[in-house]
Symmetry: none
Subunit: 196 residues, 2 copies
C-alpha cells in the first residue's frame, strides 16, 4: 500500500466514522443497516484495511449515500480554479505572437483553453510546421478582436471578430493576422480520440 493509497483509504475511513457518529449510530447499528460486520467497519474506519468496492458500496448505502458521493467528500479535483494572475505564459518562439494558457495542467483536464495575441503580420507558426496535437484532437477558435486567417491542411479561412471555427487539430495548421490591427483569439483544444 503506497503512501497515496494509504491516505485515500484512511481518509474515507475517517469520513465514515464522522458520518456514522453524526447520525448517532454505533458500529453495531451501522453494521445492521448496511450488512457489513461491526469489526470490519471498525477496521475500515481506523484505516487498517481497504474494503472491496462491493463492501464499500454497502457501507455508503448504510449512510444513505452513493459510493461516488462518499468518495467525493474527500476528493480534490472536482473543481479547479486558475485565478487571473496565475496563468501559464507560453514561450514566445515566434515574433509577434504571445499566448497564455487559462486552464490548469491537470490529468482531468479534457479541454485546454488558451488566449493568443497576434501583432499585425504575425503568425502562430508557418506552413512547414508539423502538427502539434495528438491524433484525433479537435480545436475550436473564437476570434475576440481583430481579424485572423486560419491555415489548415493547405486551405486558408478568413475569420472576423466574433467568428468561431472548429477543425481537426492534428492536421498541419497555424493562424496569422493579416492586420492592420492586433488580433486576439481563444483556442480550445479537446483531447484526441484516445482520451475521449
Amino acid at each position: 500500500m503506497s503512501d497515496v493509497d494509504a491516505t485515500s483509504v484512511a481518509a474515507i475511513g475517517g469520513r465514515v466514522r464522522a458520518l456514522r457518529e453524526a447520525m448517532g449510530l454505533s458500529l453495531r447499528d451501522l453494521a445492521e443497516r448496511c450488512g457489513v460486520s461491526a469489526p470490519m467497519l471498525s477496521q475500515v474506519e481506523r484505516g487498517e484495511t481497504s474494503p472491496t468496492l462491493q463492501v464499500a458500496t454497502r457501507i455508503a448505502a448504510g449512510l444513505d449515500l452513493r459510493l461516488s458521493q462518499l468518495l467525493r467528500l474527500d476528493e480534490d479535483g472536482a473543481v479547479t480554479i486558475v485565478r487571473a494572475g496565475e496563468r501559464r505564459q507560453g514561450p514566445t518562439t515566434v515574433k509577434g505572437h504571445s499566448y497564455e494558457v487559462l486552464t490548469a495542467p491537470l490529468p482531468g483536464q479534457r479541454a485546454e483553453l488558451s488566449r493568443h495575441v497576434l501583432a499585425p503580420g504575425a503568425a502562430t507558426g508557418g506552413p512547414g510546421d508539423p502538427p502539434m496535437h495528438e491524433p484525433g484532437s479537435r480545436e475550436t477558435a473564437l476570434v475576440e478582436s481583430g481579424r485572423v486567417v486560419l491555415h489548415c491542411d493547405g486551405a486558408a479561412h478568413d475569420l472576423q471578430t466574433g467568428d468561431c471555427v472548429t477543425f481537426d487539430a492534428d492536421l498541419p495548421h497555424h493562424f496569422e493576422n493579416p492586420g492592420p490591427g492586433e488580433a486576439t483569439f481563444l483556442g480550445v483544444v479537446s483531447a484526441g480520440l484516445r482520451r475521449s
Copy 2:
C-alpha cells in the same frame, strides 16, 4: 455477493474495458499505467472479482479519472430524458440570464463553446436543478467580465474577471451573478466518457 452488488461490480468492469479500449490500451498497457496486474484487470473487467477501494482508485487513475468519476458513469440517473412538454426554452429560461452557443451543432463537436450573460442578481439555474450533463462531462468557464459565483455540488466558488474554473459538469451546478454589475462568461463543455 447479492444481485445488486453483482450488478454494480460487473457494471464498473464493463466501463473500465470500454474506456481502456477507447484509449487504445491493452490490459498490459493499462496495468503499467495504474500499477495493477493485467490478470487482475482482466478479472475486474469480466466482473469476476470486486477490487478493493485502493486498487479501484489506481485503476481509475490509470484512466485519468478519479474513482468517484468512474463510478458516476454507471450510476442511476445517467440517462436523462427531457420530455417534449418539459423542454427548456432557449435562450432565456431564467430571468436575467441569456446565452448563445458559439460552436456549430455538429456530431464531431467534442467541446461546446457558449457565452453567457447574467444580469446582477441573476443565475443560470437553481440549487434544485438536476445535473444537465452526462456522466463524465467536464466544464470550463472563463469569466470575461464582472463577478460570478459557481455553485457546484453544494459548494460556492467565487470567481473574478479573468478567472478560469474547470469542474465536473455532471454534478449539480449553476452560476450566479452577485452583482453589482453585469457578468459574462464563456463556457466550454467537454463530452462525457460513456462509451456504451
